[in-house]
């Protein structure tokens, strides 16, 4: 187990930021940490990074106390920045040295990463000379210049343009293929759906969803099928057993099914009635909808 959190509690005076939180992250996993603003995500991450101390509970990172695992963990904080007056390569070398990497190795890895994100020509320039997008790329590689086993990314895509977002996504994929464990905390549900294996949704410091993404989506599927047909099928509600409601939606129809009705049976009835079926699918439920449903539509 790469991260083990059990019964974690963190209070700021009377406010309970994290409340009896428990979860685990396994090796090689891309784990999504979700939740609305103020849910306790950053506090949890800061405890894992040994920046904050928990009031109660147990946290182990890579089998050790957080304080003893720092050198093997990479961290991209939500509140992030770099030394403006320090040269690009020197920044990477310094941050790697702070993680216990030798100066020579730090220089070598720094160079390799700068090449990887097309910043090698800027190695001797000061950070303040870089454009915003370049600085974001530099911040990202700064979190992995010491070749960590675990990478914690807090809102890594925030403020990135689409080109840089794609670039970063590709990088994250490569890291995962290289066997790194990654914890991704973000508001961007489409990216969570595209990247994560399992997720933990925190609300008011508590875990409200914690499972494989597929299992969560299955559990929250609203039992709706989507039908595209050349015929008008609005009359089918009530005619086909188990179909409660038919709504036209953008040239297709959404059929709301009764609880326990198998979409397979509905399809069979449609075919038996010789109704034209162009497309038939179990309607996917976006993670966004599940998120809104679970946290009660609060501001995210």
């Amino acid at each position: 187990m790469v991260i083990h959190v059990a019964g974690l509690v963190k209070r700021y005076r009377e406010v309970v930021a994290v409340d009896e939180l428990s979860f685990e992250v396994s090796k090689g996993e891309l784990f999504g940490l979700l939740g609305p603003n103020g849910a306790g995500k950053t506090t949890t991450i800061r405890i894992i990074m040994d920046i904050l101390q928990p009031d109660e509970g147990e946290v182990t990172v890579l089998g050790a106390r957080p304080a003893d695992a720092k050198e093997r963990v990479g961290y991209l904080p939500e509140e992030r920045g770099l030394f403006r007056d320090v040269k690009v390569l020197d920044t990477l070398i310094y941050l790697a040295e702070l993680k216990g990497v030798s100066r020579a190795d730090a220089r070598r890895r720094g160079w390799a990463l700068l090449e990887r994100v097309d910043l090698d020509e800027w190695a001797d320039r000061k950070v303040k000379d870089l454009s915003r997008g370049m600085q974001q790329r530099l911040q990202f590689i700064a979190s992995l210049v010491h070749d960590p086993d675990l990478l914690i990314l807090d809102e890594p895509f925030q403020g990135l343009d689409p080109v840089n977002t794609e670039r970063l996504k590709g990088f994250v994929d490569d890291l995962r293929e290289a066997g790194k464990t990654i914890v991704l905390s973000t508001h961007q549900m489409n990216l969570v759906e595209a990247l994560c294996d399992r997720i933990l949704l925190i609300h008011h410091g508590r875990a409200v969803l914690y499972d494989h993404l597929d299992a969560i989506k299955e559990e929250h599927a609203p039992n709706t099928v989507r039908l595209r047909s050349r015929e008008t099928v609005s009359h089918l509600a009530g005619e086909i057993p188990g179909v409660l409601l038919v709504e036209a939606d953008d040239g297709a129809f959404n059929l709301t099914l009764d609880e326990g009705v198998d979409p397979q049976d509905v399809l069979r009835h449609l075919v038996e009635r010789r109704i034209d079926v162009r497309e038939f699918e179990v309607a996917p439920v976006p993670l966004e909808d599940i998120f809104v449903e679970v946290v009660g539509g609060e501001e995210t």
Partner: protein
């Protein structure tokens, strides 16, 4: 504590600070002023020589003779033993020309009715202070007395009347006497003054850099990345060491340039001072310097982390710098009473102990209890300051947007983490 990482931080802080334009300009300012002075002297040639001569006269007044225009008859001829320092002039006009040209430092016009009135006109250039100085000069008094009494009283009486006493300083403390000779008196003042000035200056300079470094790292948000790699205590220790070295570098450059441009005078004073000041005082001075700087630097780092802007941090830290300067402000009183109760009390107060002891040590035999006590207080305060400072540092660094209230700061200090 990982000393390897502390070293990495200290080196980073030192190198980034000394490469900064602001540091280079500030550090070069003092030597540059010296160079400007030299260049001006070369460009303006003769005119500045007059200024130079004037300055030299302020220090070397005794080396230049004083003119005497004697209408009373008591001072003619001038006795041979005064021939080098006093030169006769026949008229006021000739004497005043000589004063103006710098040939003599002043001229005494002794009128006919001198014996009845005691009136003597003193001719000088510049302000009236020169005249007062001449009037108060023991050499001038001796010159007058010896000439008035010559041939009228016994030679020994005449000499004693002219110079009734030659004071010799002997300070009695703990059965020992020390500080003999007139020079040591200067060194007991000059050297401790310089040492404590050095200390206080380094505290100000370095705490300025510490504040800047902490405030900038907080402002640019890079700090969260750093404390995810090292313990706040290590970051603080690295900063205290690295920026302490930066402050020291600046002060050393200033001092060296001051030595270079003042013709080595300061260096001679310092070197002679080392011979006169007992080794015990020097060693203890270094100990107090190190303890005092460390204590202040830690507090500055902790307090600096609480501000959200540079200005806020400076205000908070300035309050503490004030304490370091208290003994300095009392120095006039201290010279006369180095073991006064207030001095002893302030020697046991962590924020004033170092500077107070540094001022007291060369002035008198300080009770061993004060030495041991103040070192103990400082040594005990440093872990305490580190504990509070690191806590404020750790929490303060992550507070963005607003400065915490006094109540909140207290909450941070007393909280578990």
């Amino acid at each position: 504590m990982d000393w390897g990482k502390i070293w990495v931080i200290a080196r980073h802080e030192y190198l980034t600070s000394v490469r900064r334009l602001g540091f280079i300009i500030m550090t070069a300012a003092v030597p540059a002023l010296g160079v400007v002075g030299l260049l001006l002297a070369m460009l303006l040639g003769g005119e500045t020589r007059q200024i130079g001569d004037f300055l030299a006269r302020q220090f070397e007044g005794a080396d230049q003779p004083i003119g005497v225009v004697d209408e009373s008859g008591f001072f003619s001829p001038i006795r041979p033993e005064y021939g080098e320092d006093f030169v006769p002039f026949l008229s006021e006009g000739a004497a005043s020309d000589a004063v103006e040209s710098g040939e003599i430092s002043a001229a005494l016009l002794v009128p006919e009715d001198y014996l009845e009135t005691g009136r003597v006109v003193v001719l000088t250039v510049g302000s009236g202070f020169g005249a007062v100085e001449v009037g108060d000069s023991s050499d001038v008094r001796a010159f007058m007395v010896e000439h008035l009494l010559a041939g009228r009283v016994d030679e020994e009486i005449r000499e004693r009347t002219a110079r009734p006493l030659r004071p010799e300083s002997r300070v009695i403390s703990g059965g020992e006497t020390r500080g003999e000779g007139p020079l040591s008196f200067v060194f007991t003042f000059v050297v401790p003054y310089m040492l404590s000035f050095f200390l206080i200056m380094t505290i100000f300079v370095s705490s300025g850099y510490l504040l800047r470094s902490v405030a900038t790292e907080k402002e640019t948000r890079v700090v969260e990345l750093i404390i995810s790699s090292v313990q706040p205590m290590e970051l603080m220790a690295g900063k205290v060491m690295g920026l302490g070295a930066v402050g020291l570098t600046q002060v050393v450059v200033w001092l060296l340039s001051a030595i270079a441009f003042s013709g080595g005078l300061v260096a001679i004073v310092a070197a002679a001072g080392a011979l006169v000041i007992p080794i015990r005082v020097m060693v203890l001075g270094v100990v107090y310097y190190l303890l005092g700087y460390t204590l202040y630097a830690i507090l500055m780092a902790g307090i600096g982390a609480l501000g959200t802007t540079m200005q806020e941090s400076q205000q908070l830290a300035g309050f503490f710098s004030f304490f370091a300067a208290i003994p300095y402000m009392l120095s006039g009183f201290l010279f006369a009473n180095p073991n006064a109760l207030v001095a002893r009390i302030l020697s046991f107060f962590p924020l004033t102990a170092a500077t107070m002891m540094m001022l007291r040590l060369p002035l008198a035999e300080v009770p061993w209890m004060d030495v041991a006590g103040s070192i103990a207080v400082l040594a005990a305060s440093i872990p305490g300051a580190l504990w509070v400072g690191a806590k404020l540092f750790r929490v303060g660094l992550l507070i963005y947007g607003k400065r915490p209230t006094v109540k909140e700061i207290w909450g941070i200090v007393t909280s578990k983490s």
